[in-house]
């Protein structure tokens, strides 16, 4: 991964947990004199998508348009480990026609957790069910997130339970015209 991306000017990933991992390689290679500096350089130029748009490009209104009520799930690694909290909300607040509703207990993990979702499937089910119920409570037509894993989990459960909520990655929302 480092070798593939290290020559890029900047690296932008549409996933908070991927960005977190890119920044974590330097710790994985902390005792490696060759790879550590390469991992550090990689970390320095890696950004999560909304962070890049808001903090680097300085843009908050991308001219997107989407009619309806939406709620946003703040993914754990993106908010807690990467510290990107405000950028997605700033971008969403400028999407024309979109009304944002706060998600109850938004801070709670959706129950994905990588292998946790299958290793501890029964617990994961309860967690994602609570998340789905919270989304339903907002009466939103769209659930927006910035991390594929969480969206696949919540979306997959929502579909199984027959909930008519459309799951969208924030990039899709920002690309709506």
């Amino acid at each position: 991964m480092i070798a593939t991306f290290e020559d890029a000017e900047v690296i932008v990933t549409p996933s908070g947990s991927c960005a977190t991992m890119f920044k974590d390689y330097q710790h994985v290679f902390q005792d490696d004199p060759e790879w550590r500096p390469r991992a550090e350089r990689l970390a320095d130029k890696t950004y999560e998508l909304t962070e890049f748009i808001v903090d680097v490009l300085g843009i908050e209104d991308v001219g997107a348009k989407l009619e309806g009520i939406a709620t946003y799930h703040p993914s754990c690694h993106m908010t807690r480990l990467l510290g990107v909290k405000d950028a997605p909300m700033k971008l969403l607040s400028h999407v024309e026609g979109l009304e944002m509703q706060p998600l109850p207990n938004a801070q709670n993990c959706c129950g994905f957790g990588g292998t946790f979702s299958v290793k501890m499937g029964n617990i994961s089910e309860q967690m994602v069910d609570e998340k789905v119920d919270s989304v339903t409570e907002t009466k939103a037509s769209y659930l927006i997130g910035a991390d594929g894993g969480c969206l696949m989990n919540i979306g997959g459960r929502m579909q199984r339970r027959g909930k008519p909520v459309k799951v969208m990655h924030i990039a899709e929302v920002l690309n709506s015209r």
């Binding site: 993990c109 129950g111 957790g113 299958v118 029964n122 309860q126 967690m127 696949m152 979306g155």
Partner: protein
Amino acid sequence: MAMKIGNEKFKDNVNKQMEDTFMRGAVAGAQERLRTRRLDAAEELGNWEEWRSHGEEIRQHTLDHLDYYLQELSENLQKRGGHVFFAATAEEANDYVKSIVKEKRAKKILKAKSMVTEEIGLNSVLEQEGCDVIETDLGEYILQLDDHDPPSHIVTPALHKNKEQIKDVFTEKLDYKLTSKPEELALHAREKLRQEFLQADIGITGCNFAIAESGSVGLVTNEGNAGMVSDLPDTQICVMGMERIVPTFEEFEVLVGLLTRSAVGQKLTSYITALTGPRTAEEVDGPSEFHLVIVDNGRSGILGTEFQSVLQCIRCAACINVCPVYRHIGGHSYNSIYPGPIGAVLTPLLGGYDDFKELPYASTLCAACTDACPVKIPLHQLLHRHRQVIVEREGRAPISERMAMKAFGIGASSNPLYAAGSKMASSVMKPFTKDETISKGPGPLKAWTEIRDFPAPNKERFRDWFKQHEKENGKA
């Protein structure tokens, strides 16, 4: 009862606990209350992140010089006429307490809330000696009455019980005839306990933080029962985990502030007590004999390892109060008196992987615990570290998982293999796909699709789309 509270398998425990809808409602409600109160208390104090760093620094410094401070504590307490006993194991600690009980011919022993005495199973040892051991913290008292129901939380041990259940326990065990009103229940317990306090031979407390410079034991409570336990009986025994110590009162103040705010969102609790040895000639109350039992029980084995930071813990339960897994499975699922994220890290260290190897996996690594910890223990990293040790050092991963990880490793680290895999994905999954959805997946997807749908792989791969896009638009 000791640290381990049952013999059921983790999975069975979880399935049973998740059926307890009352417990789950109570836990969710308590989490919301305690989380909000903690955040408000932190905001009111201001500079919370700096306080956390300060707390972390104090704990790290103390652990790095633990031998020095334990020596200082021990010498200072002995100067004040107290007895100090270092117990390497739970058994040694229990034997020591037993020897005092025998010497005093004690019958009635009163206890204040203490996790370390739960950990070493002190109550049952003393009961086997024929003693009447009575818990005086209201939560612990209820659990004890209810045929020793184990605690499900380290600060609010009876969290899993509602007032109706408590009323039933009181009716059955205490001949209680009133309603389930909390005030009436508490008053009844108070009247019963008052009688016990006056008759007690020995009082046993835990220790929130011992203070090395003065040889004191610091206790933080809201009910005031610890004061009764430590003042009324003539013999006083404090049991502490060997890491629960601060150098001076200055650090005590910082940590108590972090503890009370993080545990219950209070600036201070109703009672903060420092006990310093037996009563002196000029004093009118307090015990005539004072014993401090300093328990190792596996802690020194954690010192100096990659897990040392877990010993920074001040038992505030902030991590438990934000854990989305604990929220659904409750405390008893962990099979340990230490539940939640801190329990999932600490229990396998103290009790071994044989009994507790599932616990580090009972987490999504969402890091809510790490974020909440007032002394900055990197709990989610320690859980991850446990998994590494279990798989790499202990070789305990199931064979199916080892094969799957190996296959993924080979596929993901070879460009041609990965490319071929992603090209084939769509057609391989075709028999399982309906309306762009897989609802009954094969192999590794089976567990996933038991409860959720899985999106079918796109027919067009991103890398192909990207190449095409570059061709059409010219390379950037």
